[in-house]
């Protein structure tokens, strides 16, 4: 299992550089597989056993659990000798914060419940802005047969790559020798030519397989069909060829498949008059890209397309009334054009019908070549405004008619992993899978509901996105009406962490709440990407730790989009190095007071102002100002 001694790296048998070079994967690598040591911990020559071990050899007996699904761990394993079995558990419970007993947890939940009683009452209007896996129960209705692992196989790499909890439980099938390594070592292997590709491939296969098995839509597939599906599908990440600019598909693009979100957050947006409107966020485990197949109830699905200047003027959907003109305030601004008045004309929605109204323009508005004042629009009409010509296009809504076009744009908000299943593959599978349509329509309806969301709810969604709260799992919010600014929370934090406060009581506001500069335990932690020594990681649970072998490079602090990681100057430790040294730096981050019962900041707040919540679930429309 993972580390018990956090100050000395991993626990286990140390391997010298020469010994490592014997192992297949490490042969081609040019990078050293030892941790660069923090200067305040002293430098140890590579050939002798270092103070901190990044790669260790461990021995397991038959039946020993090597790693468990649901843990974070942040380490990867390589099976050297013997064999093991990897199984997907039928249920994976939410990750918890270390050191918290169940009772305290219940009390804490009670606290939140009371606080958000208003939110509970408004449950009807609750918006599910993304489901985040570590807090959700993940079930697998039809777990597959355990997979046998042989010598030379990697396992447990998923948590190093996407920072989600481990998917698989691995047990030793016979006495075996395992190499455990930190994420930074795995990164080195992935960077190195040949071995890296094998690791990547293994990961993609395993990831897709796991995800398919977890989704109800694919539960009826046989093992053979599943294997075929995995081979036909594609795992997309921000770096994939099929993804441009974090966008999976654009509005109006042809529908060529469906998507299953494995990790990260996907935003569905629609071009509207006045800019893009975010419709919803999708969290891991969601299937999307199906909603276009749903029969639409809404009458008007028209689109205003500029035929004369398609490069300069984007097409817009005609949802509500829009104004065309030279002024910046118009929904369709025609800047720097001649013959266009400030406010030229308006397209109004009256009931289910759209009307074109001239707003007293100098040069008048033309419909199909005729000057008009007010007229009913139909599909195919051509509108002339000065030099510009627009056409009213229908939005394809019937799946049986013509080529299907995407209603929304899907783009990843952070790094993500999405499995794309092409239409061809689906069609093939659909012959045997009857559940497909039912699942498809329920997912599509959720998106459709989001499209018709009231403005107030839209504001909540926008605010949540603006503050990047959608992927926060545990945010310290402070109710500013209650807070007397006594700083007890900060003091408690500093006391709990050897005199170094791990957060600052400042930050942006969300209505009456202060979103503090405390680690949000993102479901997609950017800070963990690229740590050269793998010292920033999740151990077995949700909170993020920065281990003692941090070398103080400051990369995590820079990567954190919220400025929640601070670098602290440490006095040189005289015990480890005799000669005086310059003060060393070390990164610090909120660890949710692991080891204590509950976060100290909340516990120490005398005014009931500090709360720790999953903001996207806690905040309600009432909080938006």
């Amino acid at each position: 299992m993972a580390t018990e001694q956090h100050t000395d790296g991993l626990a286990g048998e140390w391997l010298s550089r020469d010994a490592l070079a014997q192992i297949d994967f490490f042969k081609g690598s040019k990078r050293p597989f030892t941790i660069k040591l923090n200067s305040n911990l002293g430098v140890v020559p590579e050939q002798t056993e270092p103070g901190i071990k990044a790669v260790v050899k461990r021995h397991y007996q038959k039946g020993d659990v090597i790693c468990k699904a649901g843990d974070f761990g942040s380490t990867a394993f390589l099976l050297l000798e013997g064999s093991a079995v990897a199984s997907l558990p039928s249920q994976m419970l939410p990750a918890v914060i270390a050191g918290r007993s169940a009772r305290t947890g219940a009390w804490l939940r009670g606290l939140f419940q009371r606080r958000s009683s208003a939110a509970v009452r408004q449950a009807v209007h609750d918006i599910d802005v993304g489901e985040v896996s570590p807090y959700a129960v993940v079930t697998c209705a039809n777990p597959p047969q355990p997979v046998a692992l042989r010598a030379g196989d990697f396992f447990g790499i998923d948590t190093c790559i996407n920072f989600y909890p481990r998917d698989l439980t691995v047990e030793a099938a016979e006495p075996c020798v395992v190499l455990e390594m930190l994420r930074s070592v795995l990164d080195s292997i992935r960077d190195a030519g040949d071995g890296g590709e094998r690791v990547e491939h293994a990961y993609r296969q395993s990831a897709m397989r796991t995800q398919f098995y977890r989704h109800t839509m694919f539960r009826d597939l046989s093992a053979a069909e599943m294997d075929w599906l995995v081979s036909q599908s594609e795992l997309l990440t921000p770096g994939s060829d099929a993804v441009t600019n974090d966008t999976l598909f654009g509005e109006g693009a042809e529908v060529d498949g469906i998507y299953l979100l494995r990790a990260g957050t996907i935003k569905l947006s629609q071009r509207r008059a006045g800019g893009d409107a975010t419709l919803t966020y999708l969290g891991s485990g969601t299937l999307f890209g199906l909603e276009e197949m749903l029969p639409r109830q809404r009458a008007a699905q028209l689109r205003l397309v500029c035929v004369s200047h398609p490069q300069e003027v984007a097409s817009v959907a005609l949802g509500t009334s829009i104004t065309v003109g030279r002024a910046q305030t118009c929904e369709v601004p025609l800047v720097g054009s001649r013959g266009v008045s400030r406010k030229h004309c308006r397209i109004e929605q009256r009931g289910d019908e759209m009307y074109l109204v001239d707003l007293g323009s100098l040069n008048g508005t033309l419909l199909n070549g005729e000057l008009i004042q007010e007229v009913l629009l139909t599909t195919g009409d051509l509108i002339g405004v000065g030099d510009f010509t627009f056409r009213i296009d229908p939005v394809s809504i019937d799946p049986k008619q013509g080529p299907r076009a995407r209603l929304t744009t899907a783009s990843g908000l952070d790094s993500f992993e999405v499995i794309k299943i092409s239409s061809a593959t689906l069609r093939e599978l659909g012959k045997s899978n009857t559940r497909f349509l039912a699942t498809a329509s329920s997912v599509a309806q959720a998106v459709d509901a989001a499209i018709q969301r009231p403005a107030a709810e839209q504001a909540l969604v926008d605010e949540v996105v603006e503050l990047n709260l959608y992927n926060s799992q545990n945010t310290l919010l402070i109710d500013l009406d209650r807070c007397t600014r006594c700083d007890q929370c900060v003091r408690a934090c500093a006391t709990a962490h050897d005199g170094v406060a791990r957060f600052t009581r400042d930050g942006p506001r969300f209505g009456n709440y202060l979103v503090t500069l405390a680690c949000r335990s993102c479901s997609d932690p950017k800070c963990m990407v690229g740590c050269p020594v793998g010292s920033i990681r999740r151990r077995e649970s949700l909170e993020i730790h920065i281990e003692d072998w941090c070398i103080g490079c400051g990369r995590c602090a820079n990567n954190c989009p919220f400025g929640n990681i601070n670098m602290v100057e440490l006095a040189a430790s005289p015990a480890k190095s005799p000669e005086p040294q310059a003060p060393a730096w070390k990164a610090t981050v909120c660890d949710l007071c692991a080891g204590y019962e509950g976060p100290s900041c909340v516990y120490a707040c005398p005014h009931d102002a500090a709360i720790r919540v999953n903001p996207s679930r806690f905040l309600t429309i009432g909080d938006v100002k």
Binding site: G499, A501, M567
Partner: protein
């Protein structure tokens, strides 16, 4: 909106939250406040010394103790009776009392003098409201008394109670008689004078109050003889002595003359026939005593032949021939209210007759002319808006002064040495 990252960038990162201005002031203010409080206390100490701890003023009588709290108080204990008894005389309450309370239980100090001495009725009612005694015989007093309104009639006035004084005195006669009046007006204060402490009346004294009218001088041929107001034996000796003096001063009374037969010799009786001095004494003593001890004849006019001893006193009539009469002791009660105190001086703004209302018609000495309880309650009542008070301690002292202690002794006996702190030195 200002982004989280931008905000974080601007802030100075503090390893430990830096104290803001308020927190920097806090220790100073804390120290100042504590110092101010302590200085305030010390200031009080300076002015009042140990008296700072007084919960209230002590009784003026105790004020001389000053700061010497230990005079009465011992550490972590209630004030012990011992401290009081050092100066004050300890007096028991009643033999029936089961457990004597501490002095301080009734005498609350550190309030004011009034509270210290004016013991509340409640404390009395605690027991006397429902009196129980395990001792035999049970006390004869009323067992439930919660108020002066429930007070029983005074013992001297209860049914069948009479003045058992063995003396005849007619108040009516003395206060109304013309004969007396024409010479001099008799009023109550002529005879009844309060004691120095103003409480009881002084005892009636024959010499002072009666003698002027009731002279004990039987009219005799031989000359004036006065009987002293004493026992018959003393009277006899006194009269005998007076007779002798009389005989010597005027021998002719004894020696009556006879014509002398010889020239130049005064006429005289022959000595042998002359009556002896003793015979004279005996003869006249008999005559005087007969007068003095003549039984009272109620029919005879007053003051005629009746006006000596047995006008007032009774005899046992057991006079053997030649023997002396035995006069019964008069037994006038010294005080009527055995358990209660009464001060005549306190009440001297009222006429005597206002309380002793029957006195002008009282003919017999067996009449008890004490005012009744109801009469007291006219003023001492809870009902009246301006009551004279119904506190038990107005009349009754918890400490028994009536029976066990000489009424002549001062009520408060104070050891002045202790008072002035000599004992401490």
């Amino acid at each position: 909106m200002r982004s989280s990252k931008d905000l974080a960038r601007r802030l100075r990162f503090d390893r430990f939250p830096r104290p803001d201005a308020f927190q920097r002031w806090y220790p100073i203010a804390a120290a100042l406040a504590v110092v101010a409080a302590i200085v305030g206390w010390l200031f009080i100490r300076l002015g009042w010394h140990e008296r700072q701890y007084l919960p209230g003023p002590v009784a003026p009588a105790h004020a001389t103790f000053g700061d010497r709290c230990q005079r009465c108080h011992s550490s972590f204990r209630n004030v012990a009776d011992r401290a009081c008894v050092e100066c004050h005389v300890a007096r028991a309450h009643s033999e029936y009392e089961l457990e004597a309370p501490r002095c301080a239980a009734c005498h609350v100090e550190h309030r004011s003098d009034a509270v210290s001495l004016a013991v509340s009725n409640r404390l009395c009612i605690d027991c006397h409201g429902a009196l129980e005694s395990k001792r035999q015989p049970k006390p004869s007093i009323q067992t439930s008394i919660r108020d002066f309104a429930e007070h029983p009639q005074f013992a001297a006035l209860r049914e069948g109670a009479v003045d058992r004084a063995v003396l005849r005195f007619n108040h009516k006669l003395h206060l109304n008689s013309d004969r007396i009046a024409k010479e001099d007006t008799l009023s109550c204060p002529k005879c009844h004078v309060p004691e120095a402490d103003g409480r009881l009346m002084k005892p009636i004294n024959f010499e002072a109050h009666c003698k002027r009218c009731h002279e004990q001088k039987p009219p005799l041929d031989v000359g004036p003889i006065e009987a002293p107001h004493k026992e018959p034996a003393v009277v006899r000796e006194s009269i005998a002595a007076q007779l002798l003096v009389l005989a010597v001063q005027s021998p002719e009374v004894i020696f009556t003359g006879r014509k002398s037969t010889l020239p130049g010799v005064p006429d005289r009786e022959p000595i042998s026939e002359a009556r002896s001095l003793r015979a004279f004494q005996t003869e006249w003593l008999g005559k005087v005593e007969e007068r003095l001890y003549k039984p009272l004849n109620q029919q005879a006019p007053l003051l005629e032949g009746n006006k000596y001893c047995f006008l007032c006193h009774d005899s046992d009539l057991d006079s053997s021939p030649g023997g002396l009469p035995k006069i019964r002791a008069s037994a006038i009660p010294k005080r009527w209210l055995l358990r209660g105190e009464f001060s005549h001086r306190r009440h001297d703004s009222v006429e005597c007759s206002a309380c002793h209302d029957q006195i002008r018609s009282s003919e017999r000495s067996s009449d008890v002319n004490l005012p009744k309880r109801e009469l007291c309650q006219r003023c001492h009542s809870n009902v009246q808006s301006r009551s004279a008070g119904t506190q038990c301690v107005l009349c009754h002292s918890y400490h028994d002064t009536s029976r066990h202690v000489d009424p002549g002794a001062p009520a408060r006996q104070v050891n002045l040495g202790v008072l002035l702190g000599d004992a401490e030195k």
